[in-house]
């Protein structure tokens, strides 16, 4: 009746909840699936090819680093985090971006963004956003070439092979589609030409905004509805909490309504801010990354509000048309500071850590 021997003393508890890291990653991937499939449909085969090139590169980058450090490769890859990093990066790229953008981005995300810091859980910046920002700064032109929606089975849509040729650059980008612009980019360029928003948005060539997402934009960022559905799934499963998405979207909405109210000719409306660009994807999937965001409720509210505020500032006054990636990185950098100043109150102590007064 001697029980099995263990190497050392086994500490309590002798029970565990069902949650595991691969399970979390799996659910996040599942939540991304609707928006991704919609993106595939909307932008056709080149988007599919870009997706697998990017995620493949991210996974390869991770595997390469693990091999180099002589760590076991398979168990780490199985946690699904590299897949998710590549996936999120792919969703944030222009759908017809060339293959090398996906490769460079994917490798940069997992190698420089993550493995250099020691792998999962140790990185300080969101790997996907690090890669996104690096690509945007290094290759501003291809990273802001947008495709008008060209649904997969429609007449002009490129087929599988044409898609490959577009992604891998052998087919010159002669498709009319390539000349489209996002709403933010359009509004900005029109504003700089001296056309105010009231006129430019009323013009016939103005990009439209739609809840389902039939507009020009990044591969997986256009369908606010599907992204929000995925986000609600994660909320329901308690994989993420409401604090960051709520604080981020509420802050964007607050500033947008404030500024739009002051001068509708210069500032875009709340709806455009929330439904266009990367706000939804950022709020539910990127800013909520466990590793690089604070882990107390108050800290998460501060973090989300910060991302929202910086997003609005960069979108409205900054040099780039979209600011979510920068805002996320900047708030990632501030996370340790936020964590430090938003520690929860310990039972029996006040906020500063001194024991409570004895009050019989």
């Amino acid at each position: 009746m001697i029980p099995t021997r263990h190497a050392g003393p086994v500490a309590a508890p002798h029970a565990a909840s069902a949650g595991t890291v691969p399970r979390v990653m799996l659910w996040v991937s599942a939540a991304l699936l609707p928006a991704t499939l919609f993106g595939f449909w909307l932008y056709g085969w080149p988007a599919v090819h870009l997706w697998w090139v990017t995620t493949g590169s991210a996974i390869l980058g991770e595997a390469f680093c693990l091999r180099l450090m002589q760590k076991p490769v398979a168990p780490v890859l199985r946690d699904g985090s590299a897949l998710l990093t590549g996936w999120l990066l792919a969703l944030s790229l222009p759908p017809w971006a060339p293959w090398w953008a996906g490769v460079i981005g994917g490798l940069f995300a997992t190698v420089i963004g993550k493995q250099v810091f020691g792998g999962l859980g140790q990185n300080l910046f969101n790997p996907a956003m690090v890669a996104r920002v690096m690509l945007l700064i290094s290759f501003p032109v291809p990273m802001t070439l947008w495709t008008a929606p060209l649904p997969m089975l429609s007449a002009n849509a490129p087929g599988f092979v044409d898609g490959l040729r577009i992604t891998f650059g052998t087919l010159p980008a002669t498709f009319d589609a390539m000349s489209s612009a996002t709403l933010f980019g359009y509004a900005r360029s029109e504003l700089s030409r001296g056309v105010d928003l009231l006129q430019s948005l009323a013009a016939t060539q103005a990009p439209t905004i739609s809840l389902l997402g039939e507009r020009a934009g990044s591969l997986g960022e256009t369908s606010s509805l599907l992204i929000a559905a995925g986000g609600l799934l994660l909320l329901g499963l308690r994989i993420i909490t409401w604090h960051i998405p709520f604080a981020m979207l509420a802050t964007i909405a607050l500033f947008a309504s404030l500024m739009h109210g002051i001068d509708p000719a210069r500032y875009l409306s709340v709806g455009i801010h929330l439904l266009s660009g990367a706000a939804m994807l950022g709020a539910f999937f990127i800013a909520t990354d466990y590793v690089t965001s604070p882990n107390t409720a108050v800290g998460q509210l501060v973090f989300g509000a910060g991302v929202g505020f910086l997003t609005y500032v960069i979108r409205t006054w900054g040099g780039y048309p979209e600011g979510v990636a920068f805002a996320v990185l900047l708030m990632n950098a501030l996370t340790p500071v936020i964590d430090r100043y938003t520690r929860p109150r310990i039972y029996g102590r006040d906020r500063r850590g001194a024991p409570l007064e004895i009050d019989p």
Partner: protein, 508 residues
């Protein structure tokens, strides 16, 4: 209880809700263990100094006879759990995670189970409160919820600090365990009488019995038993681990928060376990010292799980045999799965604080490999003390114990919620136990250092004193010699004298 209430049932913002696994063991009727042949009674079954044996090998003792007396202020005596012969006083494996040995008295039972003379009290409320505390202490009653703090010490504390409210802990939030549940169902009258004696002993005006709402029969039984006493209220509390922890139960029932580094009594409440109250009842009304307890036998490797009434000192192996083991248990746990300790083998005796023995099958004992922390924050949400387990563990991992202490390591109650919810299966509790132990070891070595320094200083002082005394003695002898010589010289012709050894040299 509508659906609405089920969905929005209020639960505290802390803690976890593990599968409770209490059935079918909790519903199996209480059984008595047949008397084992050999009982190993450890000397340290309580918080404080170990008891000191007062019997000799070979001596015959009766059930309930004092075999080891309390030593010091915080300690408890130990009594013979059955009648028989003392066959050894030596070391046995302690019910302790280290698996190290500790002193125990071995009794070979004679099978008669003859009680020694008992001194029951008909009306404990006629005694002075001090006398109740004295009798409780003499009966060796300690906290039976697991903390094993000597009960009488708490009585005196409560009386001194004018405690108003007695909280009776029937939480039993640990999964698998049902010994408190059982005692409330089967001996509710004893529990209520015991808690009234405790109230009287500490001078409390009201008693709140907190019982988790997953034990409806216990709540009903206790309500019936307490119906006659207006100042005893049975209060169901949400089933949420760790509701049975003093601080959390006090907060749930009274809204009061015990300040850090303070005792509950300082905010006017005192917590006693239901089983402790029953033991107080037996000690006073029947004059029986604490020599047996109800132990929950549970776990996937047992064929007949349930609650057993067993004498203290029974080897775990006897309990397991009685409860029927299927195959070889993958792990033996003393206590509950959240805070219990792993037993190295089954020849460990049960002690006063042993609320349960869990024999896990392979699936239950599965230890998942620890992965890296992904900072998901589940642990911070689960922590009932408002700590940041992930920050503490990462600092302990990097050997920054002082940093971990800065995050409130000393406030950790070791409940295991954080490790339970961790998706990376990081053994957080072990990190904290290690750090706490290491910090207190450092504290000890600092005290030892100070003691050493004092000893070294005393030695220097001693050497100086001895040198001084030697010098003084030499000087005195010289003076005596000189005087003697002078006297002799006065009588005879003075001789030239050469001093052989100057005093200063003698002193070196």
């Amino acid at each position: 209880m509508g659906i609405f209430e089920k969905i929005f049932r209020h639960h505290p913002p802390w803690g976890v809700h593990p599968d409770d696994h209490k059935l079918p063991a909790a519903n199996a009727p209480l059984r008595s263990l047949p008397l084992p042949a050999l009982l190993y009674v450890p000397m340290q079954q309580h918080v404080g100094s170990p008891a000191r044996p007062v019997v000799l090998v070979g001596q015959h003792v009766l059930k309930g006879q004092l075999i080891a007396e309390a030593q010091g202020n915080v300690s408890a005596p130990v009594h013979a759990p059955t009648s028989g012969r003392i066959s050894a006083i030596g070391e046995v494996t302690a019910p302790h995670p280290s698996g190290l040995a500790q002193l125990a008295i071995t009794i070979a039972a004679d099978g008669a189970d003859t009680w020694c003379e008992r001194l029951p009290v008909d009306d404990p409320f006629a005694l002075a409160p001090e006398e109740i505390a004295r009798r409780t202490a003499a009966a060796g009653v300690v906290g039976l919820g697991g903390a094993t703090f000597p009960a009488a010490v708490k009585f005196n504390l409560g009386r001194r600090l004018k405690v108003n409210t007695l909280i009776v802990n029937g939480g039993e939030c640990e999964p698998y365990l049902s010994s408190d549940d059982r005692i409330m169902r089967d001996r509710a009258a004893e529990v209520v009488d015991g808690l009234r004696i405790v109230m009287y002993a500490i001078g409390a005006r009201e008693a709140l019995v907190g019982i988790e709402d997953n034990k409806p029969q216990a709540i009903a039984a206790m309500r019936v038993a307490a119906a006659a006493f207006g100042n005893v209220q049975v209060r169901p509390v949400p089933a949420r681990y760790p509701m049975g922890s003093d601080k959390q139960l006090i907060q749930t029932l009274t809204g009061k928060e015990v300040p850090a580094d303070a005792r509950a009594a300082e905010v006017g409440v005192l917590v006693h376990n239901v089983s402790t109250c029953a033991a107080v009842h037996r000690a006073l009304r029947r004059g029986e010292p604490l020599v047996e307890r109800i132990v929950t036998l549970n776990g996937g490797a047992l064929t007949r799980p349930g609650n057993l009434l067993a004498p203290i000192g029974t080897p775990v192996v006897d309990l397991l045999r009685f409860a029927g083991v299927s195959g070889r248990p993958a792990r033996l746990v003393l206590g509950g799965p959240m805070m219990g300790i792993v037993l190295p083998h089954a020849r460990v005796p049960i002690v006063k604080g042993a609320s349960g023995i869990l024999a896990f099958d392979a699936a239950e004992a599965h230890v998942a490999e620890a992965g890296p922390c992904i900072r998901c924050g589940s642990c911070t949400r689960a922590c009932p003390m408002g700590l940041l387990p992930l920050e503490m563990a990462s600092r302990i991992g990097a050997d920054d114990l002082a940093g971990a202490a800065g995050f409130g390591l000393s406030d950790c109650i070791g409940c295991g919620c954080c490790a339970y919810v961790c998706p990376s299966h990081i053994p957080l509790v072990q990190y904290f136990s290690y750090a706490k132990g290491e910090l207190s070891a450092r504290e000890r070595s600092k005290l030892r250092n100070d003691a050493t320094r004092r000893l070294a200083e005393e030695r220097v002082a001693r050497l100086e004193r001895e040198a001084r005394e030697k010098a003084a003695a030499a000087a005195r002898r010289k003076a005596e010699r000189d005087a003697a010589k002078a006297a002799a010289g006065a009588a005879a012709r003075p001789l030239p004298v050469r001093i052989v050894k100057p005093a200063s040299e003698a002193a070196t």
